[in-house]
Point group: C2
Chain length 293, copies 2
Amino acid sequence: MTRLSKYIHQDEAGLWLTEHEKDHMRISYKLKSVLYEHQSPFQHILVVDSHDFGKMLVLDGAVQTTTLDGFIYNEMIAHVPLTLHPHPEKVLIIGGGDCGVAREACKYAKLKEIVQVEIDEHVVRTCKQHLPEIAGREDDPRVQYVYADGVEYVKNAENEFDVIIIDSSDPVGPAVQLFEIDFYRNVKKALKPDGLMVCQSQSPIFHRDIMSQTYGNIRSLFPHVHMYTAVVPTYPGGLWSYTLGSNRPLPDLAAVTFDKPAQYVSTEIVRSCFGLPGFVRDSLKKAEEAAIK
Amino acid sequence: MTRLSKYIHQDEAGLWLTEHEKDHMRISYKLKSVLYEHQSPFQHILVVDSHDFGKMLVLDGAVQTTTLDGFIYNEMIAHVPLTLHPHPEKVLIIGGGDCGVAREACKYAKLKEIVQVEIDEHVVRTCKQHLPEIAGREDDPRVQYVYADGVEYVKNAENEFDVIIIDSSDPVGPAVQLFEIDFYRNVKKALKPDGLMVCQSQSPIFHRDIMSQTYGNIRSLFPHVHMYTAVVPTYPGGLWSYTLGSNRPLPDLAAVTFDKPAQYVSTEIVRSCFGLPGFVRDSLKKAEEAAIK
């Protein structure tokens, strides 16, 4: 790697990746090295090795996942729905280019098919090669890779999946449609009658509008909607929200147990992750009132 | 304010505060203005107004609290112990210079005395004047301000307090002793027999050693020790831990309710905040085994 990316600069203290998280904030990570750089038809892909967060996947200059904490996000978006659905057999993952969600799903022996629909094949190949700590080192024959637009994919699916996991990037550029109600309507259609869906719904602190809008959209389609949170240190604000929509009521959380090998998710996390801060509950109440009008 | 602090620089995009959080990470916040700057006998005190986090208190270049998210830390360190103690009347706050913890404690009508022991009077006066959003705008006659070293203060207290809240800064410089077992031994002595204490025990992600050591120290002194977490966006890693030590078992969490006005803490947060990620529970198990040997 000789050419330095436009997202990287060198000064007297070393090599730095600077993320312009928001208009008024810059976060710089000191790097050991740049491992891979490529401009795909969809986005700029960068893999770096940092001092504090280990290896990082960076898309269009924004850190997506790291080997230090990527497991938190991936475990939470995969295990909560897969633990709460009583008998999942067929799962659809939309997005999930780092392959970490598919890897977590493979821990369920009862799953028969895991379909991952990611628009950018280059991201999947990059993570398989340069981030095996996240993507996994082995290929599970139950995982089917589809390189297509998830929005189009769910238009053509009906009554097919037990669980749908929407692991999107931020709602800018191609991911915008993954936050719109037409998309969720098709997700509901693609689910079996007792199915459930989950999506990442951004930061309750910095993206409260998107979080509330997502919750409201899903609430207007599903009778049972629940938000849960986790902490993802490399995402702005740290606190991250997930919204789960289900056609059936969830099981009693106090009786749920979790028995897969994992670093973050545990039985006590599955039982407690739906406990929301007061200001988040207030935002959801307003979104709920608007959704059921 | 004409002179710029050594922690602040100006470039073509504006005025920035840059925090060197860790050796390999820099976070820059764009500022609207510098409100106050002073070198006290103990530390460099700075109050700035930022675009994304509102007003910030910065001590020796490290962001301590902000008007965007300071309520999370202060509510969690105050309300969890004050809700779980059955009949608190006299509370000791060690540190807590931003006065936010004392302000939360004042919401309990049953409290008769709130003693706050902060080493740096300048911090208290600065926050009262420049950060009333955190420190509060009114003086409650139950709050007694003592400007002294908390380590020395607890040496001379015995069987006096129902709840002791240790709101320390990071364990560097003068705060190092607030993380040592001799200090916690004196805290226990200063508590009534049915009293309980809580301290902030740093980040489970970036300070796992300090977190485990703190838990182990408190576990070796108190029969009942519990860790809980919250998300504090402006602290490194976002996830923050608190350790609670008690002479008596805690009440049944499923029966606890919280009824004070608050933004983050709610009944569901008090009930769920003790649910720990797997990797945190693993660290505590090791610390516990070492403590009870």
